[in-house]
Symmetry: C2
Subunit: 148 residues, 2 copies
């Protein structure tokens, strides 16, 4: 059945961030749609940001295009250009290799839901605001290469 029953897709707030950087994403509840729906060309996730939650530490991908669309609620897009309020139907895109680190922050009192598309497997990812680097194998380390 092509219409997606979101309730049937597992939801998690799991993160690969070390504990001291993970507080901001505790309220990020996401469903990985691609494995659940049999898609492999791209990674699609349905994400709910609870009030106060961030979508991620501010980051940019070397090798992964991203596009997202807000489905309900509001979030502030924070990037090198400043702050931009996004609401339902607003789309944001992040071409790979463009070093404009970004994240969404739900500063409202309501949940914000969005759909985001990227690659199924991430490459290297840069986090300018915190001492973390993703080498592309799901292996997050300090910027000097040491393990957390």
């Amino acid at each position: 059945m092509p219409k997606v029953d979101l309730q049937a897709v597992p939801q998690t707030n799991a993160t690969g961030y070390p504990d001291h950087l993970a507080d901001v994403v505790q309220g990020r509840w996401y469903r990985r749609l691609s494995p659940a729906l049999g898609l492999s060309d791209f990674g699609a996730s349905h994400v709910v940001l609870k009030p106060g939650a961030w979508s991620a530490q501010r980051h940019w991908h070397e090798n992964e295009d991203e596009i997202l669309v807000i489905l309900s609620g509001q979030a502030v897009l924070v990037d090198d250009h400043g702050r931009t309020l996004l609401g339902p139907g607003d789309i944001a895109a992040f071409p790979k290799g463009e070093p404009n680190a970004h994240c969404l922050v739900n500063e409202s009192d309501e949940d914000c839901a969005f759909l985001v598309i990227g690659q199924s497997v991430n490459g290297p990812c840069h986090y300018p605001d915190v001492d973390m680097h993703e080498n592309g194998a799901g292996n997050k380390r300090r910027k000097d290469g040491s393990a957390f």
Copy 2:
């Protein structure tokens, strides 16, 4: 600027269908977001279906996953399972190679907008309801291989 200014992206109702199959998509107005936004990992399009418009002739792709989310309005998903009404926030997914031909039909009096993600380059595409086949090179022909 990551927030997409849709008005700055060209909109078209162009189609590669032959005239006798194109009536149903004359009210399909789409914007190809990926080239406009510098994305190459996947093809993303913002589509507005005017009242009465179809998203496509009913079809399925051999080699292309698709996912869409309704942004505003309503459309009926028509596939081998029957008819399913989709509204804002509803997501539908179509794994490549699954021979469940599908399309959206706007049977309402209001525009229906959706975001759809697929590949930038399509492969072979099957149209069970009409005498048309896409061989994967953007070359639509009759099912006996003859040109329109």
